[in-house]
C-alpha cells in the first residue's frame, strides 16, 4: 500500500496548542512522523537577558500556562542560590504546597484530555470539574488561578492564616474522594483499557536515550523523581512514594499520573500539618553576585532544568530553560511509528503535551 503524508496542525481541533505534525501512514498503519515547533516561541531566554531579576520572575511565569509556579520557584531558587540567601522555612513549605496543587490540577487536566480523546466524555467532565477544586485553593491563597504571582526572590508573596485552612482541607478531602472513584474507573473501564493497554510502549533504554523524565519515564519503569533524587527544601523533609510501572504503554502513563495525584494530596496534607511558623520572605538585593548555578526540579511533566549565570549586575547574563515537554516531544515520532491511525490521539495525549513550555 502506498505511503500518504497527513499534515496535522498547527491549528487543529485535536490540539489546544499550535503544533505542526506530519504523519506518514500506509492504510491504517502509522509509519512515522515529524514535528515542527515554534508557533508560540516568545524568545524568553533572550528577553531575560534584557530584564532585571524581578522582571524575569514574571517572564518565566509565562513560559507555561499550566505549571507557571514551578518555573518561578525554580528561577527564584537559582537566584537565591547565587545570592546565598536562605529562604525562610515557611516560604519553602508554601512554595511546595503550590507545586503539589499545580501537579494535581495539571494531572487532572491531562486525564480529562486523554478521556476525551478516547471517547469517555463523562470522565473528562468529572476530572475538569475536580480540577477546579485545586484551582480554587490556589486562587484563594494567592489570588490567581493560572498566573499566581506567588514567588519573589527570598520567599513568597502570600501567607496562610487560620481562615484559609477549612476551605483548603475541605477541597483536599473532596479531591481525595473523587480521585479514589476515578482510579477505580480508570483501572476497570474496559473501553479505556482497550484503547490504552499495550499502545505505544517505550523501553527504559529509549527513555534514557531521549532524556525523557517525569511520569512518561516512570511509566516505563525508570525510577526518577527530582523531588527525591535531587531534593531542594522542603522535599528533603517530606516522605512520599515515587510511582513507577514497568509496562511503558499508554495505560501505564495513565495510572502513574492518577496515582501521583494521590501522592500529591498526601504531600499537601503533610505540608499543611508541618507548616513552620515565621516570616514568608527575606529582603533580597537587586544585584546578584557573579556566578552560575543549575537547578533541577520536578515539574508536573518531569525534570525542569534552569541554568543561570550572573555577571554581577541586576540582569541575568544567561538563562537557559529546558522544559520536560521538549524531551517528550522528541520521543513522539518514535512512539508514532508502528501504531494504528486510531491510536494517534491516545499517543499524543499520553505525552501530556505543553507546546508553550517546549517553545518558550
Amino acid at each position: 500500500m502506498s505511503k500518504i503524508s497527513i499534515p496535522i496542525g498547527p491549528q487543529h481541533p485535536l490540539l489546544k496548542e499550535p503544533l505542526s505534525m506530519k504523519i506518514d501512514i500506509s492504510g491504517e498503519k502509522v509509519l512515522g512522523g515529524s514535528l515542527r515547533l515554534g508557533y508560540v516561541h516568545r524568545g524568553i531566554e533572550r528577553l531575560a537577558q534584557k530584564r532585571n531579576y524581578v522582571q524575569t520572575i514574571h517572564l518565566v511565569e509565562r513560559v507555561c500556562g499550566i505549571c507557571s509556579h514551578i518555573h518561578t520557584t525554580t528561577f527564584c531558587q537559582a537566584v537565591e542560590s547565587l545570592l546565598k540567601l536562605e529562604v525562610p522555612p515557611r516560604a519553602q513549605y508554601l512554595r511546595a504546597l503550590m507545586c503539589e496543587l499545580e501537579r494535581i490540577h495539571s494531572h487532572l487536566l491531562w486525564l480529562g484530555i486523554l478521556a476525551k480523546h478516547v471517547g469517555l466524555d463523562t470522565i473528562f467532565m468529572h476530572t475538569w470539574h475536580d480540577r477546579e477544586l485545586a484551582l480554587d485553593v490556589m486562587e484563594e491563597i494567592t489570588g490567581g488561578r493560572v498566573l499566581h504571582g506567588a514567588n519573589q526572590i527570598g520567599g513568597v508573596r502570600f501567607d496562610l492564616d487560620e481562615s484559609h485552612f477549612p476551605m483548603i482541607y475541605a477541597n483536599l478531602e473532596k479531591l481525595r474522594s473523587q480521585i479514589s472513584g476515578l482510579l477505580d474507573i480508570l483501572e476497570n473501564e474496559p473501553a479505556l483499557i482497550a484503547r490504552t493497554k499495550g499502545v505505544a510502549p517505550v523501553s527504559q533504554k529509549t527513555i534514557r536515550q531521549y532524556g525523557v523524565a517525569g511520569p512518561v519515564a516512570r511509566a516505563s519503569g525508570v525510577d526518577v523523581d527530582m523531588r527525591r533524587d535531587n531534593p531542594l527544601p522542603p522535599y528533603d523533609q517530606l516522605k512520599f512514594s515515587v510511582v513507577t510501572m514497568p509496562d511503558g504503554d499508554a495505560w501505564a502513563r495513565t495510572i502513574v499520573r492518577a496515582e501521583e495525584i494521590r501522592e500529591s494530596l498526601n504531600l499537601c496534607e503533610m505540608i499543611l500539618e508541618d507548616l513552620p511558623d515565621g516570616e514568608v520572605s527575606k529582603r533580597a538585593p537587586r544585584n546578584v553576585p557573579e556566578g552560575e548555578v543549575i537547578i533541577r526540579s520536578e515539574a508536573p511533566r518531569g525534570e525542569l532544568f534552569y541554568y543561570l549565570r550572573s555577571d554581577g549586575t541586576d540582569q541575568p547574563a544567561r538563562l537557559k530553560i529546558r522544559t520536560p515537554t521538549l524531551a517528550a516531544l522528541c520521543l513522539l515520532p518514535v512512539q508514532m511509528s508502528d501504531i494504528q491511525v486510531a491510536d494517534i490521539p491516545v499517543v499524543l495525549a499520553g505525552v501530556d503535551l505543553c507546546v508553550a513550555c517546549a517553545d518558550r
Binding site: 537577558q49 534514557r208 532524556g211
Partner: protein, 150 residues
C-alpha cells in the same frame, strides 16, 4: 554503574582523551569538565556505555563576558548525579560533531543551538529550524551576544 561518581568518570574521560581535562568547578550543583571539542563524540560514547544509555538533559550554548570570540557548549547529563561536559568553539566559525548517532534525543537541542548561536553540527544531515520561522533571515543568530547587545 552505582559506584560511578564524578571522580571515577573524570579518570575514565582523562584516560580516553589522553591528558588531564580541566575541571570547571564554578557551576553550583553540577561538576563540570572541559574537554577538547574534537573528542566530544568519544566522550559521549563513553558516558553512554558506562551508564547503558546516557540521560542528556539539554545543551546550553553561551558566550561569556570578555570571551565573545568563543561559544561555549555545555552538555548537561544526569545519571543519579549531575555533571556537565563543556566544549569551547571559536565564535567565528563554530562547528562540532553531532552526537545524534549516540543520543537521538539530542536532536532538538542541537537544532536550537544551531539556530540561536549559528553552530554547525557535522555528521547529521541537516539542522532545520526548531523554534524560529522557516524564512527567518534577520541577521546573525538570535541569542548571540553581539545581537543582544545591539
Amino acid at each position: 554503574m552505582d559506584k560511578v561518581n564524578f571522580e571515577v568518570l573524570r579518570e575514565q574521560i582523562d584516560s580516553l582523551v589522553g591528558s588531564k581535562c580541566e575541571v570547571y568547578d564554578a557551576i553550583g550543583n553540577d561538576d563540570a569538565l572541559i574537554i577538547p571539542s574534537e573528542r566530544l563524540m568519544d566522550v559521549v560514547a563513553l558516558i553512554d556505555q558506562i551508564f547503558d544509555g546516557a540521560h542528556l538533559t539539554t545543551i546550553t550554548a553561551q558566550q561569556r563576558a570578555g570571551q565573545h570570540n568563543l561559544i561555549e557548549l555545555m552538555y548537561h547529563f544526569y545519571q543519579k548525579f549531575a555533571f556537565t561536559i563543556i566544549v569551547r568553539l571559536p565564535a567565528e566559525a563554530p562547528s562540532i560533531a553531532s552526537i545524534l548517532s549516540i543520543l537521538p534525543g539530542a536532536d532538538f537541542y542541537e537544532r536550537e543551538v544551531a539556530e540561536m548561536f549559528g553552530v554547525k553540527f557535522t555528521g547529521r544531515t541537516e539542522t532545520p529550524p526548531l523554534l524560529l520561522p522557516d524564512d527567518w533571515d534577520q541577521g546573525p543568530p538570535f541569542i548571540r551576544k553581539e545581537v543582544i547587545d545591539e
